[in-house]
Symmetry: C2
Subunit: 64 residues, 2 copies
């Protein structure tokens, strides 16, 4: 069970993400932050929109 | 949708917990950190053991 404490840094609250199995979390990763009513905080890695592509029609498939 | 980015601070990875609805998360709160295989990080507030009490027999209830 890994634990970590929140702390003030300037005017914002930060938390250290401790290493698990000797591996540190990746820096510069964007997370979606979800606060649950029970106090749990969920950090979901933000993904780029898969369908946001340059070309129009790249997902088009011809009928066989 | 609130997002936040991880960053290096010294040798550890930290993330700012952004305010939600104008309210900041509480500093000095201990969280249990859970890393999921899909990259999601769950922070569960650590609670004291409810049954870790001083007196022996405080939970004893007599039969009616």
């Amino acid at each position: 069970m890994i634990t970590s404490k929140t702390r003030m840094q300037g005017s914002s609250v930060v938390i250290t993400l401790p290493p698990s199995n000797g591996e540190k979390p990746t820096p510069n990763t964007e997370y979606i932050v979800e606060y649950s009513n029970d106090g749990t905080i969920i950090l979901v890695p933000k993904m780029d929109d898969t369908f946001n592509v340059e070309e129009i029609g790249v997902f088009y498939e011809t009928d066989e």
